[in-house]
Structure formats: C-alpha cells, structure tokens
Symmetry: C2
Subunit: 396 residues, 2 copies
Amino acid sequence: MTSRSFHPPLRTLMGPGPSDVHPRVLAALARPTIGHLDPEFVAMMDDMKGLLQYAFRTRNELTLPVSAPGSAGMETCFVNLVEPGDKVIVCQNGVFGGRMKENVERCGGIPVLVQDDWGMPVDPNKLEEALTAHPDARLVAFVHAETSTGACSDVATLTRLAHAKDCLVIVDAVTSLGGSPLEVDGWEVDAVYAGSQKCLSCIPGLSPVSFGPRALEAIKRRKTRCQSWFLDLSLVMSYWGGGTKRSYHHTAPINALYALHEALVMLREEGIENAWRRHRHLHEALKAGLEALGLSFLVPEPARLPQLNAVTIPEGVDDAAVRAALLERYGLEIGAGLGALAGKVWRIGLMGQSASPRNVLFCLAALEAVLAEQKAPIARGVAVEAAQRVLAASDR
Amino acid sequence: MTSRSFHPPLRTLMGPGPSDVHPRVLAALARPTIGHLDPEFVAMMDDMKGLLQYAFRTRNELTLPVSAPGSAGMETCFVNLVEPGDKVIVCQNGVFGGRMKENVERCGGIPVLVQDDWGMPVDPNKLEEALTAHPDARLVAFVHAETSTGACSDVATLTRLAHAKDCLVIVDAVTSLGGSPLEVDGWEVDAVYAGSQKCLSCIPGLSPVSFGPRALEAIKRRKTRCQSWFLDLSLVMSYWGGGTKRSYHHTAPINALYALHEALVMLREEGIENAWRRHRHLHEALKAGLEALGLSFLVPEPARLPQLNAVTIPEGVDDAAVRAALLERYGLEIGAGLGALAGKVWRIGLMGQSASPRNVLFCLAALEAVLAEQKAPIARGVAVEAAQRVLAASDR
C-alpha cells in the first residue's frame, strides 16, 4: 500500500473497450455530486431516458441505465425474463454467447446451444432448425456485435424467426450501440443491453437496457420472483419509471450518470446515423492500412464490424511482446484475443471517440514500427499511405 | 429530451448519503480512462486492496470493491454464502434488515426474523433465543449502522453469539465504514459490505466488501453454483485476486475506482481513528444545537451513530415543505424518513467530508430559519451558539 494519489498514464485506447473518453465527458463526470432524489437529478434522469431511446431507436418506456457494467445488464435481461424450467435457445459464436448460456443455467433455465464458428455471424438456418426441434422454447438470445471476434449478426432476421415461433429475444448490443446500425423498434427486439464504455465512449460501469412491450408482459406474468433484488426490474422501475413519485431503490451512481448523459448529448449532436457512418469510414481507412501491412481479418467481409477489427497475428510474431511494446513505447492499447482466440488475433477497436483519423494513422504507424522490430513478415512504408488515401477520398 | 449538458446545482449533502465529495476525489475521478487490464491499473488495484484492508481493519485477502452500489454488495454476500434450503437468522431493526430478508428468500434460503423496534439496536438476547430455537441455522445477518434510523448495533457481541452456534455472520457496514469503529478482524466478522458514498465520501456506485477465512471456506464448499454470474466471487476473485495473471471477468468501472482510491488515500492520511473521532466530535456539536432547538433524537444515546442523526419532526410541521425550503433556498439536503418512519423523522447525515464544522453551523442556522418560518415550536437564537461551544471546547 503506497498511500499515494494515482495518476494514470495517458493512453490511446484501441482495444475492445474502454474507448477514449472525450474531455467533455470527463468534465461532466467531475461535476459536484448531488442526491439521487434531488429534483434536479430526477429531471436529468428523464432527459437521459429520452437520449437513450434516441440511441436505441426505440420508444420503449422501460429504457434506462443499469447501475453496473454490461455483464450486469446481461444478467438483468436473463434474471427478469427466464424462470426456472424455461428453455432458452442461445446462439453462440464467441465468448459472450457462452456467458449467456451461463446466465440461463444460473436462472434455472434450460439452454439449447446453437453454435457457429468464432468469427462467423450467427447462422439463421441453424436457429430455425433449433426452433423447430424445440417448439417449447420460450426465448432466443444472441449477440449482435461479438466483442470477442468482431462478427455482426443479423438481428432483424434472427428476431423474425424467433417471433414466428412465439419466442422473445434478448440481444447483446454491448459493442454495437452507437457504432453500427441498431434498430430496437424497427427490428422488434424485446430486450437489449449495452455498455457505456464502447461506442458511446463513456466511462465503464453502466449498462443501458431497453425492454419492449412483449418483454414487459412476460415480466408481469412471471410465476416466480426474480432471483436478484438489485436487478429486479419491477423494483428498479419504481425509481426509473418516471412520474413525480419516485421511490428509493438503490443509490444511483450519480457522477457516472452525469458522464453518460454528456456522452449521449454528444451522440445526439453528431446524429446517430453520422456516428454509424464515421465508424464505417474510419474502419475502411484502418482496413486499407492493415491489409497493406499484410494482415488479414478473422471475420468475412459482409459480417465485419467497423468498430472491432480482429486481425490474425502473423506467424512467428510474439503476441504479448507486440502489445507490450505498443503500450509501453507508444501508450497505445490494442486488445488480445479472448478464449479460443487467445494468441491468434489482435482486436483493434475503433469505438466512439477512438474512431478518429488521428487514431487510425497513429495505430498503423506504431504497429508497423513494432512489427518491423519483431521481424514480422510485413510490407513496409505502404500502410499509412493506404489509409490516407481512404481518408482523403471521403466526402465527409 | 433537451440534449443540453447537465450542470448540477451546488448542494451541501447532509442526508443519508451521498455525502459531500472532496474536490480531490472529483479530480481523481476525471483523470484519463485507461484499460482495465493495463499494468498501471492493475498496480492501482493492488494498492486499493491494501487501503481497503486498512479501512476495514482486516488482513482478509478477499477484500475488494464490488463494481456496483451497496445493494449489490449486500447481494454479493448473500448469493455467495446462502444456498437453497439454508436457514438464515436476520436481525431486523430498520429498512435494511428487511432487504436482507428479501435477499435470503431470493437465494432460496429460509429467513428467521429477529425483530427490534426501529431506532433500537439489535438485542443480543433475542438473537441468542433465536439461535437456541433454530440450531440448524447456518448464518446470522444484521446491520451495523442502520441508515434508516441511525442505530448502532454491537457487532462484536452479536458475532460472538453467532459463532458459538457455528453460524457465519454477514454484516452491513454501509454507513459505518470510515465513520465509526469497525473492526473486521478484531470482531471476527466473516463477511461485510459497505458503500462508497457514505463516510468514505466517494461518489456512489461502488461497494467495498471483505470476506474472512470461514466465509471463503463456505464458498469453496458450496454444493450449488452461485445464482449470479456477475457477483460470483469464485469468478470475481480471478480478476481481483492479485498475482501477475489476472483473468478478465467484467470491465471494471475504471474512473470510479480512481475516485475510491483517492478517498481511501485521504482516509489513510487523516488516520482512521482520527476520522472516527472527527465524526463523534461533530456529532456532539450538532446534537447540542439540535437539542437547543428543541428537537429530540429517535435513537437512545448509547446506540446513537454520530454519522446519522435521526430527529423527530415537531408536531404540526410540514416535513416535505421544510426539506424543500432547505434545498431550494439554502442548497442543503437532509434526508426524509424511510418506510415506517416516513414523515416522522429527518435524517441528518454527518458523513465523511460532510462531517465538518462548516456544515454543522450552516445546517443549524438554516434549519432554525426554516422551522421558524413554519411556526414550529422551537427555541430561537440558541442552537448555533450551543454548537459553537462544543466546537470551541474541543482540544482537536
């Protein structure tokens, strides 16, 4: 124990989250703390709800930030919608689908796994087969944007298939919210959770969630009580539900909510379609550079997320040494592979504020320098220029 | 939805928490975000553990901040220590004992309630009777400092009784940690949870917890899996457990942890015994002033917490109007009564940074002005002086 104040180093965050936090958001975070029942705070909560509805593209009344990280947002969906004995089809194509299965089991539900290779999107045909084989399934859960691989699944199609068999859907939008198209109402998603520290570029620790009318109905019809007190929506609603009479449930993370509010105001100022376009555009530039270096993507082109770029580590290159050199020499964080992909891929994030021309050019230049030092088989002197060309060709 | 940045008003926080947050803590909060697996962040986590051990007065290895508010800290204790069918004696003398009972039920446990009047400490004789009547009980749970009433219970005695019957204890120290003596090792407490936003004067949203060897043993011997994935200590430990190899569990609330670290550094600088003395001293001054006004305390003197002062609302005074006038005219927040005490008491907090001579004098002066306007039966012109005398008599 040193008992000294902690001063973090300055980093450029291009891993799988947290992403770079804008000074406006950090400034909002540090504003004076007020009470969680203060009328001024309550007014901010109302405003926050509207901003979250804008980001999720929904009119769902039950749209709020869970007072804990994305994993707790996931758990909020499962503990409120799964009852003991419920059969839940979980589509797994990466780490976070596996976590969903864990959640189903811990709720006393019966998971049915639909597996796809890591790096591939969820295959709608396999879901359809599983729905046919398990007509008693009540729920379907899958990840929109797999943070462990960078694969994007087709939420609209998967949801349509689930609804055709009277199943509700739970969608993990942790890495998609704010970074690529997500239409909660347009796609009729029943329950969705996200994270604050990915494409919203807020600090980590909050999980925006939204529940549609069918999910609400299911919660009202529950036969058993929700196993979590902290995440029980029937209680949380009495605080976040709006109206003049809010009852105390838990002490909200006041300052973190200031920060999320500011990040959402910034998203609204930019316009969410513009934010999606920015992520796509910067991804094109990064991709041109990475491919010019000679690196290849894990995920096939059509399913590739702009905000999470998983590239295969060249043969003979020391994964950890490269990441350490980037961090120590350049203050640049990129992500390691998770689970089955550990040591096989790097995950380069272009999320929120990190999706900027500065970061793309810097990342390519730093990565090239470190890989060259490691004697990796890469092409020299072409990556930055390839990205510059894409950036220049833009009409943004 | 206004889409404008939120600028909170300046408040003086003398409710039941959050308390006033020091500018040093707000400044730490706003430092640049880094990754949760960054070596510099991991070193800070190690340091944080030592600081939390200092605050809890424990050498427990498993001492860490849960990434969510105090309610989640409570749930962490129950979901890890209670298995379906376990009998748990819950001593209830306020709102938070009731919440403990809810937690036991949701874990599939069988709660046995030992009730005391709200405002009274837990009666050790009643616990002893319950332990004798229920020899199959496995756990005893109670609140050290009841935030809803301001009553302090005798943790050492209650724990000794529980251990004599081979029961583990879970202690709620949300409002005691940092404000009044708490000796986790000295009293042999098995599991304890607290809050960041009370006497530590950090922002809300984190819950420091500590688990002793008997609790750890019980977790290892579980027959069933913990029902929560997010709060499962066997998983959380792999991230917070120390050592060079930390495995990813969830994304830690980085910036909130900067703030907690700074608040703990400040506690260490002051010295925890000095912090306890400061709370006691400021309470004596506030008490002198409140009694001079003619207000009386809910809790009998020996069990009264310095940091939470529940005073009865004088006959004929409009509770809500007084609190609203204090907030709107003076920017002063005091707390309303909770549950059965709603409309009957005010809760005046002297927690952490809020336990200052400035706040005591200001609170008495503002309260006197508002009560006089409300034609309350109070003594005029004596409260502030009574507090000044106590402050002056101090040898601090």
